[in-house]
Symmetry: C2
Subunit: 300 residues, 2 copies
Amino acid sequence: MTMNDYIELIDQKLDEYMPIYYPQKIFKAMKYTVTLPGKRLRPVMCLETCRMFGGNYKDAIPTACAIEMLHSQTLIHDDLPCMDNDDYRRGKLTNHKVFGEAHAVLAGDALLTFAPQLILKHSKNLGAEKLIKILEEYFQAAGAYGVIAGQIVDIESEKLMQSFEFSGKIDIEKSELEKTLEYIHTHKTGDLFKLALRTGAIIADANEEQLNQITEFGQNLGVAFQIADDILDETSTFEQMGKTIGKDKAEGKLTYTSLYGLEKSKEELNKLIDRCFNILEKNNLKSEVFEQILNKIKAC
Amino acid sequence: MTMNDYIELIDQKLDEYMPIYYPQKIFKAMKYTVTLPGKRLRPVMCLETCRMFGGNYKDAIPTACAIEMLHSQTLIHDDLPCMDNDDYRRGKLTNHKVFGEAHAVLAGDALLTFAPQLILKHSKNLGAEKLIKILEEYFQAAGAYGVIAGQIVDIESEKLMQSFEFSGKIDIEKSELEKTLEYIHTHKTGDLFKLALRTGAIIADANEEQLNQITEFGQNLGVAFQIADDILDETSTFEQMGKTIGKDKAEGKLTYTSLYGLEKSKEELNKLIDRCFNILEKNNLKSEVFEQILNKIKAC
């Protein structure tokens, strides 16, 4: 399967898995953000990891789609007025702009349980033990130990950055900011990447050592992806990104580029991508799709 | 176990299951609403159903606590400014009033996956097959087919009521309002009640017939509870209820009392409670705790 084959399959399945039941407005709101055109990076990685470790990628389709739904859930709630207050996402109006705030909150809530329900419904063939393992990964990544921890520290980082800039660097050490930034990236972005990779590997019956390899890979890839996103937030346009650009900087958010500057950020990005290539090579993991993904992130 | 024994046990376990990790503010926000003093009706019903069908109530403790967390999640998000905009709950400030809106949204999100994660973590002894069954019930009740469907139709019912009152009853039939109200009660309240009862029964290895009995019981009890809540919203005080009173009426919400009046609502409540007693008697289900609950709701 090529990257495009995967994306086409995922788009088709996302549509199929989300019929519009009564009350229609909630199902429409859920489906709206999930089916906005996207790179489908997380589900593609899930399917490709399953294939790479000798599994049948078809077994991972419900899990891959569930992870895309979880990702959409984080976007819907992150865009809310009380959070990042964004009007555009993937070039279209954000969920609350189309359906109203109450419906956007509830659509996000609904996706958080719709996604694992989908796994249980469509992956019965994997057996109860494996389903439990997949759900454990899902809950760990989705909750207060995962993306939400990253989002909370991200929100609070605005204050940190301000005290760093205005306090004459006395109250707060740069090393603390660096640690905080690493924490945000690890959880806010890395945890969903790791979820996609680890569940793909679990479905393929990967052993503990292989799980560790792919987790290390995901850790590096997640941070690399976030650095690339921070760089693009400074260097690209609304048309290229489909969302408001330069907002992080304007709001004094803690980002890679704000802390290290553009050049050093690019260096770090290259280093992380090289490390990802090394992990694949060292463990004899062959994947054109992952090579494509790595090169694309590097060329941000 | 008496009602008070159960409540004490649940309060102790809720505290125990929710340590405060980093980032502290999210875990504190989650715990704040979950541990507000409450009647613990849903977890009590889960434990008592398990006992009533011959199971060990201790096996149901994690599931019972998870259901209380799910219930708290619905309260946190329902109270948000973009939903019911309530400042008080159980006599204390609502979550967003204490922690801010962003944290309240994220605390609710986190609880939605923290709760089933807790079941997986602390109920391993039930075996993978039974855990899957419990989670299927949880997802069905928590999501767009369950409480969220009820909440969505509840929000939209304000508009329905207005067109009923101002349109000279031409555009909309009273029977449509009645059906809508039944739908709201069935899902917004009934689905969590049914979740508590059905999971308690599943943990006790109840058979299909017993599951049907307890589901019918929960359906009637859920609607009875909501009617009682609507009555109390008209007849009680802030001090008695711990939340703002008379708001539903002021906002033109579709409630039992607004549609049928106080007297007919009380009649319907009595009928439903009698039906609940009959279901217990007919099936030889003996429970002082459920008798207490039924009598308390009847005497609202």
